[in-house]
C-alpha cells in the first residue's frame, strides 16, 4: 500500500475507535468506567491529529497542535476527572432519564442523523479525510444525549467532554485542524471549565451529600 493509503487506513481505524468509545460511554452503568473510555478517545484523537500533522504543509504548527491535544485529552482531563470521581466513589447511574437499552438505540439513531446532517460539510471540504466527518458529528450528538439524560455530576461532565471531543474530531477531519491560537484558547477554556466543574461538584457533595443532580430542583418557575 502507498503511504497515503496506510495513512487513510490508520485514520479510519482511529475513527472506528471513536465510535466504539462513544457507544461504550452510554453502555456502562458505573461512572468509574467512563474515565478509561475518555482516555481511549483521547488517544484516538491524538492519533488522528498526529497523522494529519505528518501530511500537513505547515508542519511545525500542526505537530504542536497534536502534542497539545494529546497532553490535554490523554493526561490532564482524565486526571481531573479521577479527582472529581474520588469525591463520590462507587457512583452508579441507577436512574438515568432514559434507560440503557433505549439510550443505545437512540445513539444508533443519532449516528444516522449525524450522517445525514454532515452532507454540506463533506461537500464543501477539500481534504480527503472529510468523508469521515459524520463520526465527529455523531460523537457530538451522543455527547449531548449523555449530558441531557444522565443524573450524576460526573456523567454530565463526561457528556460535555464527549461534545468537545466530537467537535475536535470534526475540526480535524473536515478542516485539517483550526489555527494554533484558537486551539490554545479552546484547550485552556476546556481545562478551566473542568476545573470549575470539579470545584462545584465538591461543593455539591459537601452541601447535598451526594453527586446526584436530582437533588438540584429548588430553582424553578
Amino acid at each position: 500500500m502507498t503511504r497515503s493509503d496506510w495513512l487513510e487506513q490508520a485514520i479510519n481505524l482511529a475513527c472506528g475507535l471513536l465510535l466504539l468509545t462513544a457507544v461504550g460511554a452510554l453502555w456502562r452503568r458505573e461512572v468509574s468506567a467512563l474515565i478509561p473510555i475518555l482516555s481511549v478517545q483521547g488517544i484516538a484523537l491524538t492519533a488522528i491529529a498526529a497523522l494529519l500533522a505528518s501530511e500537513h504543509p505547515a508542519g511545525a504548527e500542526a505537530v504542536v497542535v497534536a502534542v497539545l491535544v494529546g497532553a490535554l485529552k490523554v493526561v490532564v482531563i482524565p486526571l481531573l476527572l479521577r479527582r472529581v470521581h474520588r469525591l463520590v466513589p462507587g457512583a452508579r447511574e441507577t436512574r438515568p432519564l432514559v434507560n440503557v437499552a433505549s439510550s443505545l438505540l437512540a445513539a444508533a439513531g443519532l449516528s444516522l442523523l449525524a450522517y445525514a446532517a454532515a452532507g454540506p460539510l463533506i461537500d464543501a471540504s477539500p481534504s480527503p479525510t472529510a468523508r469521515a466527518t459524520p463520526v465527529g458529528l455523531a460523537l457530538v450528538l451522543i455527547g449531548f444525549f449523555v449530558a441531557a439524560t444522565r443524573q450524576r455530576a460526573v456523567s454530565q461532565i463526561v457528556g460535555l467532554l464527549l461534545v468537545d471531543n466530537g467537535i475536535a474530531a470534526t475540526a480535524f477531519l473536515a478542516t485539517d485542524g483550526v489555527p494554533l491560537i484558537v486551539e490554545l484558547g479552546v484547550s485552556a477554556d476546556l481545562v478551566l471549565a473542568v476545573l470549575v466543574l470539579q470545584v462545584l461538584t465538591a461543593r455539591m457533595v459537601r452541601t447535598f451529600g451526594d453527586g446526584d443532580l436530582d437533588d438540584l430542583r429548588e430553582l424553578h418557575d
Binding site: N12, C15, L19, V100, A101, L104, S111, P134
Partner: protein, 319 residues
Amino acid sequence: MTADVRGLVIVALALGQAVLLAVLAPYVLGLTRAVRARLEGRAGGRLGQPWRDLRKLLRKGPTSPADASLVFVAAPPVLMATSIVVAGAAPFVATASVAGRADLIVVVGLLLLGTVALALAGLDTGTAFGGMGASREMTIAALVEPTLLLSVFALSVRVGSTDLATIVSAGATDPASVFTPASALAAAALAIATLAEGGRIPVDNPSTHLELTMVHEAMVLEYSGRDLALVEWASSLRLTILLGLLANLFVPWGVATALTPIGVLIGAAVFVVKVGLLAVALAVGEVFTAKLRLFRVPELLAGSFALALLAVLAAAVLG
C-alpha cells in the same frame, strides 16, 4: 467440467457439507463442555458424550402432552430441516459451490423460522414454563435478528452484494478489507448475537436446572425420545452454523474458492479447526462470565444492535 457434471458436484458438495456439520455439531458441544469442565476443575464427560446421549434418545419413543396439537409434533422436524438446509447452503467449506444460493436474508430467515417453530411448540404445550420460555425467546429474537442482518450487511456494503459466498470470497482474496473499523464493529456485534441466538452465557445458561431461569430449555421441557434428540441435535447444529459464519466472515482464509478436490479437503479441515478454536474460546468465556439477569439482556442486545448500526455507518463513511 461440463455444466451437468458441475451441477452434480455442487449438489454432492452441499450434501457433504450438511453431513459434515451434522456430524460435527455434537462434538462441538462436547468440546465446549469438556473445556469448561477442565477449567472448573472437574473431570467432565468425553468429547463424544453428546453423540451417546443422542443415540440413547433416538431409541426411545416420544410422548406428547394431551392438549398438544400438530405444531408440537411438527416443530422438531421443521427445526432440524431448516438447520440442515442452512448447513448445506452457507459457505463453510467452499464458496464456489454455494455462490448465488446463500443470500444473507434467506439464511437469517431460515434460522428465524426454526426459532419461531420451537417457540410455537413451547406455547402449544399449554404449560406455564413453555409459555414463559417462548415469550423470553421471542423477546431475545426480536433484538437479535436485526443485529444479525445489520452486522453482515455492514460487510456486504463494501462488496456490493448480500450473497454470503461473495462476501467470504471477497474477504479471502483481499485481506485488507478484513481489517477495517466496520468489520471490527460488525464482528463484535455478531459475536454477541451468536451468544444470544445460540442460547449461551451470558444470555441463557444451557445447563441450568432451575426452570425460572431457563429460556431455551423451558420451551423443550415437554419433549422426550426422538423429538428431544432432534431438538438437541438441531440446537447444537445451529450453534455450529453460527460459529462457522462468524469464523468464515471475519477470518475467511482457508475457504475453498475454486472447486478442486484438494481445495475442498483443505477447506473442510480448516473449517473444523476454526470452529473448534471458537468453541474453546466460547467455553473459556463462559467460565469467566456470569449469566445476566433477564431484564439486563435487552441492554446487551441493544448495545450489540448499536454496534451493528455503527458498523454499517462506518462501512458507508470510512470505507
